[in-house]
C-alpha cells in the first residue's frame, strides 16, 4: 500500500498536539497536593538538566568543544548572564575552539 506523506505528517501533528494540550486544558485549577506541586516545581529544572548533559558533548564536531561550551555556559549563567548572552557565548566558544583545533 502506498502511503501518503501528508497523512503521516497529519498523524504526527495530531498526536503531538494532543499530548501538549490535554493537561493544559484539563487541569484547570491549582493543584493542592503538596507532593504533586513539588514534583511539578522540580520538573523543569530536572528535564532541562537531563537534556543538556551529555547531549551537548555530541552536538558539536568534537566532545572537547562541547565540553568547553558547557563550562562557559555554566559559569556565565552562574554569574548572571542573560539567556541571549549565555546562548551566544556557547556558540562563540565552540566556533573558536573548533577553529583552533582546525576542525
Amino acid at each position: 500500500m502506498q502511503h501518503n506523506v501528508y497523512l503521516y505528517i497529519l498523524g504526527m501533528w495530531l498526536i503531538s498536539y494532543l499530548i501538549r494540550v490535554l493537561p493544559l486544558t484539563l487541569i484547570r485549577r491549582q493543584i493542592t497536593n503538596r507532593t504533586i506541586r513539588s514534583f511539578l516545581y522540580y520538573v523543569p529544572y530536572v528535564t532541562l538538566a537531563v537534556m543538556t548533559f551529555p547531549a551537548i558533548l555530541s552536538a558539536t564536531q568534537s566532545p572537547v568543544s562541547g565540553a568547553l561550551a558547557l563550562a562557559a555556559g555554566l559559569v556565565l549563567a552562574w554569574l548572571g548572564g542573560s539567556l541571549f548572552q549565555v546562548s551566544v557565548a556557547c556558540c562563540a566558544v565552540v566556533f573558536v575552539a573548533e577553529l583552533a583545533m582546525r576542525l
Binding site: 504526527m12 493537561p23 537531563v50
Partner: protein, 239 residues
C-alpha cells in the same frame, strides 16, 4: 489589558530571537534527514511548522522512509514526545486558573523544550502572549532551517552548524543555573540529573530506550524523589 498583552508579546519576541537562531541551526540537520528520507521541501517545511519537535520529527522521518504504517508512526511519535505531557502539566500550574480555553488550546501548539523552559522561568503567573511572541519568531526559524536543510544539504560549513547547535543548550543553562545558585536542592538536582543522564546514556543495557523516553524516565524519577525528600513550601511554586 491590551498594553499588557502587547508588552508580553514583544517580550516574547525578544526572548524568542535566540530560540529562532538555535532552531534554524538545529533544524538544518533535520532538513537533511528529511531529504534523505525522500521527503520534498514543502513536506518537510510543513512538518516542521506544525510539529516543532526535533527527536519526534527525526524518528517520524526515519519511519516514513522505512514505509512504516501510520499507526507505528503515531505510536513512536507519542513516545518520543511524551515529555511534553509533563511540561503541559507544569504550565497548567503556571498560568492563571481563569485562563480561557482558547488560550490554553493555542498555547499547547507551541510547547517545545525551549519555549517551555523560557516560559516557566517567568516570575509569577505566565501570560500566554509571552508564548505567542516566542512562537511567532521561533516557528519560522524551525521551519525555514528545515527548508534550508532540504535545499542546501551540506553546503553550510560544518563548523558553523556545529557552533550554532550549542545555542539551545546555552539557553537551557541560563534557565536552570540561576535557580540552582539560589536553591541548594535545585543545585543538587542538577548535579544528580547530569550524572544520571550520563550513566543512562553510557550503559549499553539502556540502548534500546529512545532518547525521548530516557528524558521522561529520568525526569519522573528524579523529580519525584526530590518532591518526596524536599517538598516545597506552599508559596514557592508561584514564584
Amino acid at each position: 489589558m491590551v498594553t499588557d498583552r502587547k508588552q508580553w508579546f514583544f517580550k516574547g519576541i525578544k526572548a524568542g530571537i535566540p530560540i529562532m537562531l538555535g532552531y534554524f541551526a538545529v533544524s538544518i540537520a533535520l532538513g537533511i534527514s528529511a531529504r534523505n528520507a525522500g521527503m520534498t521541501a514543502p513536506q518537510a517545511t510543513i512538518a516542521s511548522a506544525l510539529i516543532m519537535a526535533s527527536a519526534g520529527q527525526y524518528i517520524g522521518f526515519t519511519l516514513i522512509a522505512a514505509g512504516a504504517s501510520y499507526l507505528e508512526v503515531v505510536v513512536m511519535e507519542a513516545i518520543a514526545n511524551a515529555r511534553y505531557l509533563l511540561m503541559s502539566c507544569a504550565l497548567s500550574q503556571k498560568v492563571d486558573s481563569d485562563l480561557p480555553l482558547r488560550h490554553r488550546l493555542l498555547m499547547g501548539l507551541w510547547i517545545t523544550d525551549e519555549i517551555f523552559g523560557v516560559s516557566v522561568s517567568v516570575e509569577g503567573r505566565l501570560n500566554p502572549w509571552y508564548n505567542y511572541g516566542m512562537a511567532a519568531v521561533a516557528t519560522p526559524g524551525w521551519a525555514l532551517g528545515t527548508l534550508a536543510g532540504v535545499v542546501l544539504g551540506n553546503v553550510l560549513p560544518a563548523r558553523v552548524v556545529s557552533a550554532l547547535s550549542v545555542g539551545l543548550f546555552g539557553m537551557f543553562m541560563s534557565i536552570f543555573v540561576p535557580p540552582a545558585r539560589k536553591n541548594r536542592v535545585i543545585a543538587a538536582l542538577v548535579v544528580v540529573s547530569f550524572a544520571a543522564s550520563y550513566a543512562f546514556n553510557a550503559v549499553a543495557w539502556f540502548d534500546g530506550i529512545s532518547s525521548g523516553m530516557k528524558i521522561i524516565i529520568l525526569t519522573v524519577v528524579i523529580s519525584l524523589g526530590a518532591a518526596l525528600l524536599f517538598p516545597v513550601e506552599e508559596d514557592a511554586h508561584a514564584a
